[in-house]
């Protein structure tokens, strides 16, 4: 089946984004730009200790400081939680309580210990330095393996353990598969802790708006709808008194899929004080207090026969929760649980994940959330298996992947991949890459002993997008559903309001959603206004994360649009004095079959529906379509990524020379937006592989606490990417779409590291932990030379 046949028109065109004019001209409505009369500014004092008892707090000097209105400490809000976890993943899970302000104990550097409210942001920050707090150290817990040992300091004393949960998913009989194997390869991979950095830091304004008991909260979030529910549950403020608005949001990447203590405090204080309360984090605050991502130790074992047939895989993870569970902290590593077999057929997959508390910033979703980790593990271990077998790594993959004629295919973890064509994506990628020529150059450099060696990194990945259906999420103990909502309203003048429950933060929903609706209801893209990110205007939604907006939300747009068209058909038929069955609809025009001169437009019908002077009996005035869609299944984008890596063996410096990726995200609504998502995702994945990584010292201090130490690559560090797409439409998603938001970040880390190792494997190197910093690579080469590694 293809969906392309019915989506000629706006869908598939790389039209310029509606959003970009205001973004490029600085007319963006960031939360921090919102200035309300009488605003009180909030500043947060954060713990400098990783783990300590608070023995004394003196706020007197801060209270006396210029402009200061209030100083609050934990004792002022003893029962107010700062966040909540909606995914208690197992029966044995040890939950945690993160207070809005710490009362007697701090558990990571960055934990909030006091807040200052002042008439001016500068004065609020000045007063922070006047608060005097005495701490009694309790012992930091930094390393996950140490944390699980008896006698380790406890992050949560009352729990009696640092073990948060153990999740197991045995699929097939791994020991039986291993017993048949000729070759078993095991490796320990480190998927290091990352610190998501959005262009716009977190920011919130909460204000009683005066006309009712309603408090409006503007916040830089991905999840206005979910946040509204959670804020109500946490604060006791009735949900119908809370309106959440996500204005323009400058990047999220999962870091704004969260309920934050600063949001809780701003809401509660705005209600208590009756004035607007505003808080915006600094970049320094962001580093310690916005949730982190990844942070897994992965023990991976793969078993195969000597002809290269993969039999099974064993996955044993340690996943760092940090100090507290936030919105989906424990579930994040498990989002990769079903994907460790990647695109390959195997008899068994034995999965275990152990969640561990440490005295570090909480972890949570970051672009890909669980799937980058699983993809790294499977694609890295496939290269190691190929090396052990002496096989060309692409040949090993071809031997084991699901062939295009085998779809739909139920893989070992129980997911049914609806469609895919790994052969086509790989063939196109290898052609663009010049794979064979690079292999020849690699051989020549090895033979010549060139100080700069060349390696080819492969990643043939798949992922799962669009968390759904809701009953599956329920079975996984996730508290919420996976549906999405859309209302398409035809206004009397023929203009369209498309009200979506998705909440963009850079993705271009205003443009892409208009393209979908344009094709379905036959009005120009520019006549469609997309309304999003405001619980007051779009009451139903599950928001934006996990590449779900198009995969799930797109279905709701399609169905809502079709419902509008069907209602309008009845009105049009009445106007044209024929039966609805005798009406044809195309490009916004209803015409009588066989008599195309007799016609009316959807805009004319909209006006008729407004005046209601001449509607058929039983048809209500106004013209709109509404749909809430719970999808049939996840979607499964895939692709082949190839990286040519140069390694300077004298210094260890790694250079990405060429990057080719061919992604298959099914039908593309706007290929230019797809291209942008791919580029951004690649930059973040390559950043994990080569540059980024949070580092803590033994006392729990974050050493990479600024952009000087935590290296984000810029355009100057990245090559021009060579990208293309194959199109294998999804059969479970009515538009044929699959999702593309995270693909680049998911696929690229193993491509880079496999390439680095491929360049120096002949020197004896068979693992490099991310990031592949020059010193790391140089040391690996030195260790291999002296017989180590």
């Amino acid at each position: 089946m293809t969906a392309t046949a019915e989506t000629t028109g706006a869908i598939g065109r790389p039209i310029r984004r509606k959003e970009d004019e205001r973004l490029l001209h600085g007319r963006t409505n960031w939360t921090d730009n919102i200035q309300l009369p009488g605003t009180i500014h909030m500043a947060t004092l954060r713990s400098p200790m990783a783990h300590a008892k608070i023995t004394n707090i003196d706020i007197s000097a801060a209270l006396a400081s210029e402009g200061v209105l209030h100083v609050y400490i934990g004792a002022d809000f003893p029962d107010l939680p700062g966040t909540t976890c909606v995914w208690p993943v197992t029966d044995d899970i040890v939950m945690s309580h993160m207070p809005a302000i710490c009362t007697d104990e701090v558990r990571y550097v960055g934990d909030v210990v006091a807040i200052v409210l002042a008439t001016d942001q500068n004065l609020a920050v000045d007063a922070l330095q006047l608060i005097d707090i005495d701490y009694e150290p309790l012992g930091a817990v930094v390393d996950m393996e140490e944390a699980l040992k008896p006698g380790s300091p406890l992050v949560h004393e009352s729990a009696g353990t640092n073990l948060c949960y153990t999740a197991k998913m045995p699929c097939g009989d791994y020991e039986a598969a291993k017993a048949k194997a000729d070759v078993v390869v095991s490796r320990r991979f480190i998927n290091q802790r990352l610190i998501p950095n959005t262009m716009e830091p977190r920011s919130v304004v909460a204000a009683p708006m005066g006309m009712s008991d309603e408090i409006t909260i503007w916040t830089s979030t991905q999840i206005p709808h979910v946040l509204r529910v959670l804020l109500a549950l946490l604060t006791g403020i009735p949900e119908n008194h809370i309106r959440v608005v996500a204005p323009d949001v400058g990047g999220g990447f999962g870091a704004k899929l969260q309920i934050n203590r600063e949001e809780v405090l701003a809401l509660v204080l705005a209600k208590k004080l009756g004035r607007p309360v505003k808080w915006t984090e600094s970049r320094s605050e962001h580093f310690v207090s916005t949730h982190h991502g990844r942070d897994q130790i992965q023990d991976i074992e793969i078993a195969a026969t000597k002809d290269g047939t993969v039999l099974g895989m064993k996955v044993d993870l340690l996943a760092d929760m940090g100090a507290y569970l936030q919105i989906i902290t424990p579930g994040t590593p498990l989002l990769g649980m079903f994907m460790y077999s990647g695109i390959y057929k195997m008899e068994a997959l034995d999965f275990t994940c152990t969640g561990v508390y440490t005295t570090k910033t909480p972890t949570d979703a970051y672009r890909g959330a669980g799937r980058p980790e699983s993809t790294y593990a499977i694609e890295r271990i496939m290269d190691e298996l190929a090396a052990e077998l002496g096989m060309e790594p692409m040949e090993l993959r071809k031997k084991n992947w699901i062939k295009h004629e085998e779809f739909p295919y139920t893989q070992i973890a129980g997911l049914t991949y609806d469609t895919g064509n790994y052969e086509a994506a790989t063939e196109r990628a290898m052609e663009m890459f010049g794979y064979e020529a690079l292999r020849v150059e690699q051989e020549a450099r090895r033979a010549a002993g060139d100080p700069v060696q060349l390696g080819i990194g492969i990643s043939t990945f798949t992922e799962m997008c669009g968390l759904a259906p809701s009953r599956t999420l329920g079975a996984l103990k996730y508290v919420a559903g996976g549906w999405e909502h859309c209302t398409v309203r035809a206004l009397p003048t023929g203009k369209i309001e498309l009200i979506t429950g998705t909440s963009p933060h850079g993705q271009g929903h205003e443009t892409a959603w208009s393209q979908i609706a344009s094709d379905i209801i036959g009005v120009p893209v520019e006549d469609i206004e997309v309304v999003h990110g405001d619980t007051g205007r779009s009451p139903y939604g599950m928001d934006t994360y996990g590449s779900r907006s198009l995969a799930v939300g797109g279905q709701a747009i399609k169905l809502a649009g079709e419902r509008l068209v069907e209602k309008a058909r009845i009105i049009a038929a009445h106007q044209l004095e024929v039966s609805p069955d005798d009406i044809e609809f195309a490009a916004g025009t209803y015409s009588v079959k066989g008599d195309p001169e007799k016609s009316t437009t959807i805009q004319a019908v909209a006006f008729e529906a407004f005046t209601a002077h001449n509607l058929p009996d039983g048809v209500e005035p106004t013209l709109s379509g509404e749909a809430t869609v719970d999808p049939l299944d996840f979607s499964y984008p895939h692709g082949t990524h190839l990286a040519a890596m140069e390694v300077d063996t004298e210094t260890g410096k790694v250079t990405l020379r060429k990057y080719v990726c061919v992604d298959d995200c099914g039908v593309q609504i706007n290929p230019m937006i797809v291209e942008g998502q791919v580029h951004g995702g690649l930059a973040q994945g390559i950043a994990q592989a080569m540059y980024e990584g949070a580092v803590y010292d033994a006392e729990g201090n974050l050493l990479t606490a600024s952009l000087a130490e935590y290296l984000l690559p810029s355009a100057a560090d990245l090559p021009s990417f060579d990208t293309d797409r194959t199109v294998t439409p999804s059969t479970t998603h009515p538009l044929g779409t699959k999702g593309i938001g995270e693909a680049g970040a998911i696929a690229s880390t193993p491509a880079i590291i496999n390439g680095v190792i491929d360049a120096i494997r002949h020197l004896g190197v068979n693992n490099i932990d991310m990031p592949a910093s020059p010193m790391t690579v140089w040391r690996a080469i030195q260790a291999a030379k002296s017989g180590g590694n």
């Binding site: 942001q121 500068n122 920050v125 000045d126 330095q129 600094s282 970049r283 320094s284 004298e650 210094t651 410096k653 540059y691 580092v695 050493l703 990479t704 600024s706 000087a708 130490e709 290296l711 984000l712 690559p713 810029s714 100057a716 560090d717 910093s773 020059p774 010193m775 140089w778 040391r779």
Partner: protein, 284 residues
Amino acid sequence: MIPASFDYVKASTVDEAVAALVKGGEDAKVLGGGQSLLPVLRLRLNAPSVLIDVSEVGEMRALTDDGDALLIGASVTTYEVMHSELVKEHAGLLSLTAGAVADPAIRHKGTFGGSVAHADPAGDLPTVAAALDCEMVIAGPNGRRTVAAKDFFVDYFTTALAADEVLVAVRVPKLGAGWSYNYQKFNRTAQAWAIVGVAAAVKSENGTITEARVALTNMGATPIRATGVEAALAGASSSDAIAAAASKAADGTSPTSDLHADSEYRKHLAAVLTRRAVEAASGI
């Protein structure tokens, strides 16, 4: 982050700047392009009571030919140094290295003099000042004095400048005929500070190096002249001889260890980069 509050004085002459420094006492700071000082203030690592802005002091904005040297005002921006025809002609090493500093936005705001006075051992331009035997022209309440680069850089972020003195200009001796040069900057991202940097200038005759100057970035508390390498390079005419000389680059140094490189790795890099810098400069 938001800096603590401070007073601000805009100086229009060197004398005004000095007077303001004297008045401001120990808590006064000179503000040039702000590319080093402002982050320090925003992180609240320092909270001066008064900032004295010298970015538009006429004398400090001048870049002139002073006979056997160039006189580069301390408020001349890194971008202007990079693109100056005078600098390209007489101090190409400085021009080249200026282009390796940070990114275009920072080069447009940051100044050569500011970098030298800030004395970050990871800064690129202090190393060039050391390699070229620059002299610092300093003004204070007792008039002016000149300090050689080797005496100017004292320790981490510490120079011979007294609290009531301002760096007016840097005197950059012309290299003259027969010299060629190179700067090797080793960093992880394009905009980052040098993990290690090596500035090399060599004078060659008929394929033989007759004189060499080699200075190292981030191999100690100050820019360091690799005197052992310089001596060993005299008479070198082969890549083996250059490699042998370069292997002495880290002799006597005790570089710091940090997240990106430990001391041992820095020493290794210094040797590799010195060899590459000299090879590139000499064409041997």
